[in-house]
Symmetry: C4
Subunit: 196 residues, 4 copies
């Protein structure tokens, strides 16, 4: 089974999901205070938007890298990839929840960011599953792929799943710190993610 369409479909889903994030920003309404204040008061929405954009962007880059290593795709991988896309497509929802609750703090802000972190955890696990499946089925990989390197890259992604668990816990201590942690983790992966 050729991998062209799985890339095309995944790219389409990533592209739509990353663009729908903008719908989480609420357009100021006349008679509701000055534009500047209304936009400014939305800083949690912007922070969440930026963080989710970064995360989806990185997942897309890593998906790109992984697909380049595959010579072919089997039916199981199609469905594990769909599971990953399910978690990607979901991201605009917890992002909107964070945007709604972060500014006012309190318990609900913590629950909102914990929910966001759990969504990221799910995505991280789904991505690891795609990676794991490809690593366990060498016949799917290009011959030139270094299997050891693939497995060390997998371990790095598995660490991400642990980092997201810690961010779920951190959410209950400080919602803002946890969101900042998501952004920092994104920046870290941007520079440190496996090039293999």
């Amino acid at each position: 089974m050729e991998k062209g369409r799985i890339e095309a479909f995944s790219d389409g889903v990533f592209a739509v999901a990353i663009t729908l994030l903008v719908l989480d920003l609420k357009v100021p309404v006349r008679g509701n205070g000055s534009v500047a204040r209304q936009v400014g008061n939305q800083w949690p929405a912007f922070a969440a938007y930026l963080t989710s954009f970064l995360v989806i962007g990185i997942i897309w880059v890593n998906h790109h890298t992984l697909m380049a290593k595959l010579a072919r795709v089997d039916r199981s991988l199609l469905f594990i990839n769909l599971l990953l896309l399910l978690t990607v497509v979901f991201i605009p929802f917890p992002t909107a929840v964070v945007a709604e609750y972060l500014r006012h703090g309190g318990w609900d802000a913590k629950v909102a960011v914990a929910f966001y972190s759990a969504a990221m955890e799910a995505m991280s696990l789904a991505f690891s599953a795609v990676y794991l499946w490809a690593g366990r089925h060498h016949e799917l990989l290009h011959e030139s792929v270094d299997v050891e390197g693939h497995q060390s890259a997998f371990r790095q992604f598995a660490l991400g799943a642990i980092a997201y668990l810690l961010l779920i816990a951190l959410s209950f201590l400080s919602a803002q710190a946890a969101l900042a942690g998501h952004f920092a983790l994104g920046v870290f992966y941007m520079f440190a993610a496996p090039h293999q």
Copy 2:
């Protein structure tokens, strides 16, 4: 007529439709009860979201499989494929109707799931039509395609159309059971759908 663009366009439509499903989830609003309760109360929306995602995902995989068997595409197939896409694009609407009505039960919940089932029936029939057209026009198929296998696959999809009819009927007995039936049917097709 080359089939590259029909794949690209279909992939785009599938990708957008599957991503728009997330817009059916309602973002909790402050002052309306705790986040956790508001999210929890939306379980029918999540169930419908998950089911529709699974169904569109499977249709995409099967579309992928069917297209791989085609050597070329005629104008009629373009329009039958458009009919299929019409039914795919429509899915977020009945999904939203189920999300709105399922939790409160009663007659409206049953009508909502019956409507959902009817939309799936339409999609199933449209998919069968694409399959049937390709099977009747052997000149469209790659030479290597086993025509017998194609026809047995077609019969399996036609069974799907009957299953959806039963789910329409089941909706009037139990809305929740019928939605669960949709999910179960999706899982069944994930494992059992024709590999041809």
Copy 3:
């Protein structure tokens, strides 16, 4: 300049525009009458949805046919094609206007359908412009393309522009008849549009 990306981008825009149409359907709300009645009362929205889907679908098929005839694309054609996409992307808006006003009849329903017809006229003119530009610049066409056939196809599209003018006029006599006319014109083009 290669034509691959103009096709990919156009396919993406067509795919998103055709899928956004579903957002024009209003999800029934509990406490507002039975689901069945609320869905039934929306028949103008469904009629407009179906008609616009058909029109965008046909334009996509014809765009596909036209692009297949091109060997290359110049910068002007990129921008004329963007003009076409501008009119395609706009369609969900007049579709929503028709969905809102058609059922209650009266002057506003007529204006709504006239507005819809004007949007279709604009799209028809933009499509003709793409066709005309390609016809006037033979160096863009594949050598195998029959220039005479291209020009007769162009005349057929130009007739479409006249038909849409008539539908603008008809809107002021009967909004429903004019919308039916759009649907009928779509069906006509589905069967009769130039295969060249």
Copy 4:
């Protein structure tokens, strides 16, 4: 690293962003004055829609031109390109802000257009960064690319960044003139943008 998927993903993002602009147009509602007046009163929304469509369209054409010059893509370019896409995806938001505030004039209209101009400035800078990176890493360019021409094209884009700064300032003098300036700048780039 091959450039096919960066093009496919970027095309998808451009296509979705340009299509989401239509959601900024508000569908008239019955009982709120005649359709014609409601649509007419939205002229700032239409003006902003048209301007943003033109700008995204031009950026897409220029992105297309730039990508055609690249032989390969490195990881840094992937992320700089993501930064560009972040600014493109954002555009529907300031467009909606302008649509909401422009008609009623006053200070808020000026702030709205200044915000819009700042978003364009960000996009212009991100595009320049993509250009600059490619120019500084000759190994990414096709051998046939004229490096001098590339740098003169870069200077032209850098001028755009200055023009947008002026439009930020102009917004505070006249919101409408500044929006017209955006449109005029778009038309200028349509004809004058570097063909290299």
